[in-house]
Symmetry: D5
Subunit: 119 residues, 10 copies
Amino acid sequence: MSEPTADLLETFDNPFPQRSYVIDTVCPEFTSLCPMTGQPDFGELTITYIPDKLCFELKSLKMYLQQFRNHGAFYERVTNTILDDLVSATQPRWMKIEAAFTPRGGIRTTVIVEHGTRG
Amino acid sequence: MSEPTADLLETFDNPFPQRSYVIDTVCPEFTSLCPMTGQPDFGELTITYIPDKLCFELKSLKMYLQQFRNHGAFYERVTNTILDDLVSATQPRWMKIEAAFTPRGGIRTTVIVEHGTRG
Amino acid sequence: MSEPTADLLETFDNPFPQRSYVIDTVCPEFTSLCPMTGQPDFGELTITYIPDKLCFELKSLKMYLQQFRNHGAFYERVTNTILDDLVSATQPRWMKIEAAFTPRGGIRTTVIVEHGTRG
Amino acid sequence: MSEPTADLLETFDNPFPQRSYVIDTVCPEFTSLCPMTGQPDFGELTITYIPDKLCFELKSLKMYLQQFRNHGAFYERVTNTILDDLVSATQPRWMKIEAAFTPRGGIRTTVIVEHGTRG
Amino acid sequence: MSEPTADLLETFDNPFPQRSYVIDTVCPEFTSLCPMTGQPDFGELTITYIPDKLCFELKSLKMYLQQFRNHGAFYERVTNTILDDLVSATQPRWMKIEAAFTPRGGIRTTVIVEHGTRG
Amino acid sequence: MSEPTADLLETFDNPFPQRSYVIDTVCPEFTSLCPMTGQPDFGELTITYIPDKLCFELKSLKMYLQQFRNHGAFYERVTNTILDDLVSATQPRWMKIEAAFTPRGGIRTTVIVEHGTRG
Amino acid sequence: MSEPTADLLETFDNPFPQRSYVIDTVCPEFTSLCPMTGQPDFGELTITYIPDKLCFELKSLKMYLQQFRNHGAFYERVTNTILDDLVSATQPRWMKIEAAFTPRGGIRTTVIVEHGTRG
Amino acid sequence: MSEPTADLLETFDNPFPQRSYVIDTVCPEFTSLCPMTGQPDFGELTITYIPDKLCFELKSLKMYLQQFRNHGAFYERVTNTILDDLVSATQPRWMKIEAAFTPRGGIRTTVIVEHGTRG
Amino acid sequence: MSEPTADLLETFDNPFPQRSYVIDTVCPEFTSLCPMTGQPDFGELTITYIPDKLCFELKSLKMYLQQFRNHGAFYERVTNTILDDLVSATQPRWMKIEAAFTPRGGIRTTVIVEHGTRG
Amino acid sequence: MSEPTADLLETFDNPFPQRSYVIDTVCPEFTSLCPMTGQPDFGELTITYIPDKLCFELKSLKMYLQQFRNHGAFYERVTNTILDDLVSATQPRWMKIEAAFTPRGGIRTTVIVEHGTRG
């Protein structure tokens, strides 16, 4: 299967660039594959950001995230990769992603990555 | 259908202007239309502010918000517009709006806008 | 009906004035009347303070608050009035009141007033 | 009945005095008597501290707290007294007690006392 | 029975060392023995850290923690020991462990230890 | 003050008398006075019924219940009286009232009365 | 505005008519208008049924329910009407609708209607 | 200390003996002593009954239950004893007591006793 | 992609066939594809049964369910198919499956299928 | 390690054999080993019974259950074994055990076994 690509992400012009404000988007149905076992992992992504000139479009975000469905990657890498792709597409003033994965072996993990400072 | 107008907003004199205090108003039944698909969107608005000379009147707020019922607008624009209208009507010392929209396509979004600083 | 009076409030000596500490009192059964419609309003008062020389006595607080049962007043005025009366009776180092009223017309309001700074 | 005494409190050596860390202990079954009416009061104590050389032993804490079972004291006094006794026994770098009492006459009260600053 | 050993902990290279980010791991099935009574204790460990060059591997963490299953140790010592072992294995920029133990005798205790500052 | 009267209750024609169906109405803001102490009691009424020819109108129900605001009556009597008045006004196929009162002296009481059988 | 019509409801063949089984569908975003005041009502419909030859299609159900958005009707009538339309479209072995409306004037109402017996 | 006595229980005439209805009373602050260890036990009693000629008075119930505060008895015996005393005092058509005790040694127990059948 | 096959299901001998007892298994991470849109559906399966001679093995159940991950099927068909496969593999005295799917378009659906009667 | 033995179970005389009543005991800290992998399993046992001549003693129950701590057994066998041992020791009029095990591989299982009928 091909690698996930940021090309699917679409944006639209921020309608109020004169004001710094926060957009918080929760995607509770994220799934990828464990690179060790090939077993599916499940998680909830919370993406919070202060847009500058661009906002990401929700339907394209959904399509972008579904690329990871049959893609193998460690929690830490996949979360950092998504942050890099979203930052690259929207150039936000600030962005944070919290990726909370469901338990494996009785242990559950959340990865929290941030670009810039909220200010 | 005509555009929503801030003219419906009514105010009354702040009974304790000598003290900076907070009023927090939650409107769980906000609804507008998606400008792309024409489908209804639902959300909960939380309006928090420190009044200066004027407070907004709750029944007029309700009438004002019902204007968006058959109005098409993106989440980001509608939230910023409501903040602008309420700031214009009441000239508060500080105001914040959190607009939490119900999920679409498994993804849910909250827009947070602020006027001034809480201090 | 007569106006609510602060005379009902009784106090006792703070047993540990040498230490700044916090007392948090929740009164979930506050009720007053809407001055516009005469309909009853319901709410929950949370009173938090750092006592100086005096603490308010709980039973007298209850009697004091019951005076508002058949009294008509806007949310903002009634909350500020109760803060003034309690500050006057106990002269606290700091006091805050959060008055959360039950929904009317699908909208719910909380008024938050403060005397001094918590420090 | 005799007064509660701090003599029942036992301590043990902090196994990691080289590190400042927090111990948080919750005692949901505290009970004492109202000094006015003789009626029992119930509450939950949360004791949080940074130990220095000594930690309190849990079983002795339980025995110490059970002394208040048939002891009459106002909320404010009993909470401050317990803080004084625990500070005296363990000489902590910092300690806080939150005592949340169950409702009486529809009103519930929490007393929060602190020794030193958390730093 | 032999002492728990940190040798079981395995690590892997942090895939994004160029970014300071947070990994939060919850282990709700920790169990050890009370050194006084030999009775089992149960708890939930929450390990939060900012990795530097290394991340701990989850399956090896699980194996490492299972060593405490028949090991007697006080709450305070066991929590500090686990922090020391994890810090030693991964050399993180910052790490915190919250160990919440289930109630004994109606009293429940949480131990919170930290290495470095979150910054 | 005058006795509460069932005259305030208004009804409208059941729009589907050909079908036996259930209407469940919850009134969380009921309040009356204790006949012993004169202190206010608070409670939540849940009225469930299968209408026959008539349904009660909600606004008139609210006005009817507000008559008990300054009326002294024991829990058991007030609940049975309301059932009798609603049965008399609507002649339902079946009706049940659950009246859950808030705690007094640490004890809370619910009175459950029923007219006919649900079938 | 035109009356809501059952023509929008689409069905598909029950894939397992040889087995009696239950389908339970929850629609939390139902809204209609109060016929007295013109104000919007909000509610959650739970539709439970045992299909015979036909199942209703979810997207067409959504379109059908959105017709009530600007339609004025009492709670009791709208719930019975929806049951009649769904029974007419799918001819189920059994069907029940619970319609829970949000509070108005501090009172909330649920209407429960049923076609046939669950057996 | 003397044995608990049913003499403290007071009753009043059932105001609606012509109707069989249910009274449900919850006492969350019951406490007695373990007869083996002398340690306090805590529990919540739920008393549900259909009165015949008499109802028990709540304040006297509270006084009656407080007699067990320093009384040693096994869970099973104390629950059955209270049922016998309340049945003897009120001669109800039906009565049930559920006594839910807080955990001891990680194990929690509820005793459920019943007089007559609910019918 | 190939069709899901029941061949992956493994069983083991019921260790207590002399007693009728219930096994209840919850699989919160079921996912399949919508046959109309190709979009992923998510759900939680609850499988409850009384075994006769055979029990299903949990790891093989997991492997069996993962076959639906990239398989397109309507809710109603997939639930009935899984019941048929599990009944065929284990020949239980009774079995029920509740499949609760996550919301789509603001509507959520649960399908409940049963084999035999619980008795 | 030796097999768990029912010899550890101790009983005491039912103090009210003249009345059929229910005792419900919850043991949330049960742990055994998976016979396949040697990994620990965790679960919560709920034991409900109507005693005849004998009740089981709680401390001995705890000791009895702790024997399974390092014992390997399938969920189904261990639950049936415990029921057999408790029935043998107390000869109850009726007994039920619900054993809810924590998730393994994202799947959680509850085993429900019963002796006699509740009647």
